[in-house]
Subunit: 227 residues, 2 copies
Amino acid sequence: MHKAIVLLSGGLDSAVTAAIAVSKEGAQNVAFLHVNYGQRTEARELRSFNELSDHYGVEKRLVADISYLKEIGGSALTDESIDVPAHGGTDAVPVTYVPFRNAHLLSIAVSWAEVLGATEVYIGAVEEDSSGYPDCREGFFNAFTSVVSLGTKPGSGISIKTPLIHMRKSEIVKKGLALAAPLRLTWSCYKDSELACGVCDSCALRLRGFGEAGEADPIPYAAHGAS
Amino acid sequence: MHKAIVLLSGGLDSAVTAAIAVSKEGAQNVAFLHVNYGQRTEARELRSFNELSDHYGVEKRLVADISYLKEIGGSALTDESIDVPAHGGTDAVPVTYVPFRNAHLLSIAVSWAEVLGATEVYIGAVEEDSSGYPDCREGFFNAFTSVVSLGTKPGSGISIKTPLIHMRKSEIVKKGLALAAPLRLTWSCYKDSELACGVCDSCALRLRGFGEAGEADPIPYAAHGAS
């Protein structure tokens, strides 16, 4: 009996979301879902997913491959010819945006939930203190909930949970530490897989979050990013 | 410059939808998208997709693989241990329903549309004279349109077109013939790939549509289904 699906990329936000789901539902009642989409750090993120799943003793796991997103391209994360920029660009929607990605992630989670009989889908999206991706906004998730209600079997009763949506990164760090989430196992860097670059949008937001929380980030950074 | 994406499974409905899109937008302005999801007749449907694309001279094609839907299972189309029933069951939602499938198809089409700059996504869903799948209802597509508007870049302006949604099968057949769609190249059978079985839900609805239209179905059927 699996009550909840957790979308777990292996980054800070999804790891804290997993910690919240496990604390609320119990590790034996959750299933972890990871999606490879041809992103630069795919193998590193998968390693974090497996290590986090092992940590929580979650046996029910699915790794889905949607590498067609790499073929579609249009993002610095899936197209090697587009550079991953340093944090601080002024574009409303940065080039690291993967077009409509979260709709794919949610669709997979909802299909799996419907078959397992799960009623909750957790996703660690953040609107407040984020990169400005359109598919990370609360309105998107609310609209998607209507789609789920209309597009699944009557009575499936699946809802989308976004526990971090209005948190700042520093609050996410604190929440993770309060729940004893193994943040050393997470990976957030968009660009590199050995040492986090420290300068991409994802690293910069993460480092700022740890800094504002007054905590040390336990993952290794390249020298120029470890300031 | 591709203005429209057409989801083309290779069945009757999607072929007529492609004919409508080509007649409205021009073959040079459309891109055809096919999705393999581990269904029983995957190879046969892909053949129809390619033959239909060749017929229309559409060069811009994408074949996306979401075989995780087979791993998720829960449908007679993707799980060989669940029999494809003959037409006429009384279940509100038949076992051939693939959980939330159309959300996956639309998500892929929308991501591709966003990258290509296309503003229309055509899907050949039918609510009126169909199997009763929840993700084939007009309300589902309307709700999905809101998700697209909220979850893509501002100004992307992508809309979902469901030209067949309120048509009976007989009207779809007539529309296809009026547009000279090559219906001989299509494949609808859920079960078999050489001769259509003639008795599954999809064959039965198709045969009734041709019958009501007073037209002969040009594809080959097994003897017991060709009545």
